[in-house]
């Protein structure tokens, strides 16, 4: 957990000082995509080799649908209150 926060924060500080050098920032974005693809490939690899997860994939999907429904409806409803009471708009 400490490592996660450390690398994230270190990157942000580094990025802030490099923000005028757009070449480096663009390169970092490209490598980020590569690293994400590699990590998801590795995640897929261990998932594919894990019988328990493969067999419960449908269940995981159903749970994900439920959690997403809660997340979306909760945030939409609260944002509606902000829309009406903070932004002073009504309906559409």
């Amino acid at each position: 957990m400490f490592l996660i926060l450390f690398f994230l924060t270190a990157g942000m500080v580094t990025g802030y000082f490099l923000r005028k050098r757009s070449v480096i920032i663009k390169l970092a974005d490209k490598v980020t995509t590569g690293a994400i693809c590699l990590l998801l490939f590795l995640l897929g690899l261990s998932v594919g080799g894990n019988e328990i997860i493969i067999n419960s994939f449908a269940k995981l999907g159903a749970q994900a649908l439920v959690l997403n429904a809660g997340a979306v409806s909760g945030s939409v409803i609260l944002s509606y209150f902000v829309y009406v009471y903070v932004f002073g708009r009504r309906g559409k």
């Binding site: 580094t14 994400i36 080799g49 994900a64 909760g74 609260l78 944002s79 708009r89």
Partner: protein
Amino acid sequence: MRVSFCIVFFFSAGILCGFYSLVPSAMNNSTLSLYALNLLLFLVGIGIGGNNTVWEMIKRNNAKILMVPVSIIFGTLLGSALLSFWLKEITLRDSLAVVSGFGYYSLSSIIITRLEGEALGVLALLSNIFREISTLLLTPLLVKYFGRLAPIASGGATSMDTTLPVIIRFTGKEYGIISIFSGIVLTLVAPFLITFILA
């Protein structure tokens, strides 16, 4: 959208290779993913820190606009907490960690895998991909019934990039700026919130 495709492709390719044992098991070790994750976190940080829009937005933000991402954070946590009582097999803590990705599925699933294991990582990947897909599909309806902040709320962290075009199309340019701001704040908050919830 291109990046989303690449992510789904690599994840599926990984599952197939793992399932049919196509890759030498040496590749399937956690040291490699630990190094890759640390590198990724550092790079994501550079991307955020080096993004001029981020700092301009934060400098000129006003309290009113800040209410948008704040309400999205609390709405997301509250809504999923309520529904998670229905899911007996997942603890409240795990549910909150999953939805704290706010649609940022690549990073959230990877961090959660590291901290809690693959099963919850996959749940986070699916749940957060669904968040992006449902925003792409539901934006017209959300705007109609819940106002123009609704698709921004639904999009979460994706409202700054992948779902931004559809949000602007149905809410207008003025809300596009709020959408980018809210997406930036949620992208920043997601990795920290996930780590704290699972700590």
